[in-house]
Amino acid sequence: MKDQQHNPTNDSRRNFLKQSALLGAGVVAGAGVLASCSNQPAGSGEKIKLLTATGELVEVDPSQIKRVRKEKLTELQERGREGLTGHHWTWVIDLAKCKNARKCMDACVGAHELKPYQSHINVLQMQDSKSGAPYYMPTPCFHCDNPPCTKVCPVNATFKRSDGIVLIDNLRCIGCRFCIAACPYSARRFQWFEPDYTEEQKNRVYDVELNVPQKKGTITKCLMSADRLRIGKLPYCVSACPNGVYWFGDKLEDTVTNGTTHETVKFSELIRDNAGYTYFEDLGTKPQVYYLPPKNRTSPYVPVDKFQEKYEEKRG
């Protein structure tokens, strides 16, 4: 017991123990530290005049100024993450009109360069009861105002824009597919394989609002044709419908326009007068796609798998 005198190895051991405890705590704290990193110049006593976003002129100490961290994004990515100001897009789907033409699906597949079974809008054959006549129901992404999918995304690759559109950024997506699990409406698709592109097509600049070129190992979903809305046009599927199923418009303007007839009506009146509804309100997702009930059903019953061949996966 007499070797209690100062022992260098003893010290290094103590340090190690300290460090190992610190390391454990450090990993826990790591997230917080990463989040709070910012550049702060030292205070100098002078004041700087600044114009706030609300138009007020204020004075602040230079030490209080924090640089806004700008993410490295391409121009299209940056533009795509901001909504079109002054809009809140909405969609009314009249189930009484749908005759299962599937032109919307074809238009979607064409515009977003998808395989037929990946269409962002899916026309489902529905039969609520055994005695009831079937009807056809196009289901796009419902662009929920309280979207479960964006909440679970670990990297902010899917996000809700100020104009109500839920978009995805395929240069950011890590392909964890948590959003597929979270979406109650089966609105999300995954690129399980490399899309069939030539080298030239593959190297195009990625457009967030069109989600083209599609990328292997990432999510793809209905974007409300954000690229079309930017140039003042109706979504691809809405314009392609021959039967007047779709009304597309703006909740803030309270107007919706029919994609086939180009008639414009008041959104609130259309919903009120035709008993419009949304799906699974009890989930609290606040979907922004409304349905008008399938009254006067005339569509004949077609076996669900009649179109099956078109949607089979062609495996190489």
Binding site: F16, I180, F193
Partner: protein, 460 residues
Amino acid sequence: MSTPVTTSTLPQAPTFEQVREDLIRPLHKNTFANKLWIRFLIVIIILGAIAYGHQLIKGLGVTDMRDYSAWGVYIANFVFWVAVSLIGSLISSILKLLHQNWSNPLSRIAEMIALGAITMAAASIVIDMGRPDRLQNVVLHGRLQSPILWDFFVVNTYLVISIILLYLPLIPDIAILRDRMTDSPPWQRKLYKALSLGWHGTQEQWRLLRRSMIVMIILILPVAFSIHTVTSWLFAVNSRTGWHSTIFGPYFIAGAFVAGSAAVIIAMYVFRKRHKLQQYITDRHFNMMNKLLVLTMLLYLYFNINEYLVPGYTWQRLDGEHLRELFLGHQAPLFWLTQILGLVAPIVLLLFRRMRKPLPSLIISIFVLLGAWMKRMLIVIPTQFHPEFPIQNVPKHFLEYIPTYTEYVISAATLAGAMLIITLLVRVFPVVPIWEEAHDRGINKIFKAEKTSNIHENEA
């Protein structure tokens, strides 16, 4: 039964030197069987790496996961490995805090299993990613709202704590190896010298070791509970039938202790046999571990009844569809096999003393562990086939999920990976803690005196 080891023929009260030599002996020679085993594991890992390369190049489409079964065997593996890793905290922390000293010789086995399992849990999650090349986005663009981020940090934290909790009680043992294993190859001697951190067994060093171990033993508890609770939330936070359940956290933790206890019993059997440790891992240990297994299985059974009976009673629209599929439909054979062979039958069998002997309990534990893995498959996969809207206009094979060869090979490689980690650790470190064993046998005094005299000899 237990064949006495030739050099330590004394049946009662072995000396410290005997205990030490008994526990070190397996490290002296790398047997042919061991070499073959390591090569076998490496071959499987290489096959897995080739399969993973194939998946990287072609995309996740080489698996049978599709839009309506977007999570498959990789996520089930992830949950399984996280579950198994929790045993480290149960034996090294909970039992220690409850002063259950009988489990001391098993703590290192449990910690090694925990380390192997948590490493493979981390690997499984990366394997499941569509874009593993963008893993850094989780740090660069991480959103704290996402349970994946919670999982990311808690898995890494648990990995670090597991390494520390394995390493701390190893230090005095490594010092013994440094002094005794002088015939080992140079790399091994260097390893011992570096990892022993100049341990001489002084009072100050013992005090520091004890204190830091207590800190880690307490620190690992909330992390261990968090890791599996957060893992269960990956499912529970989605409003889907079969997942959206408030008891998922404790349900998963109870299931984790079942899987981990079974894994420890299997490992106990293997190392006892291979390292001839019959005097150190005794029938009493098997008896106690099996009682612990029964206890955790009863708890798990209780949660199972809650999880299936309550929605089964109301039989709401989607719950009914999901449960019909499990109880009577396509999943029924697997479901009942898993629940009966992996849970109910082991509970009943282990109530009998004879079944808690080494060999019967090994067989039962293998069933329990297989059942634990199948159960994870049954939690992850069937739920996904019961979305709110009907599944239409997709290829026919989207309607079912049958893992492909690629998935099985990669899964087997994670199993081989965990076993390789354990095998390599056991190759260089004693599987039963020498100093703790000596301490529990009341011969630690000799140990300390011997250590200090050694120092003086070395310094002289």
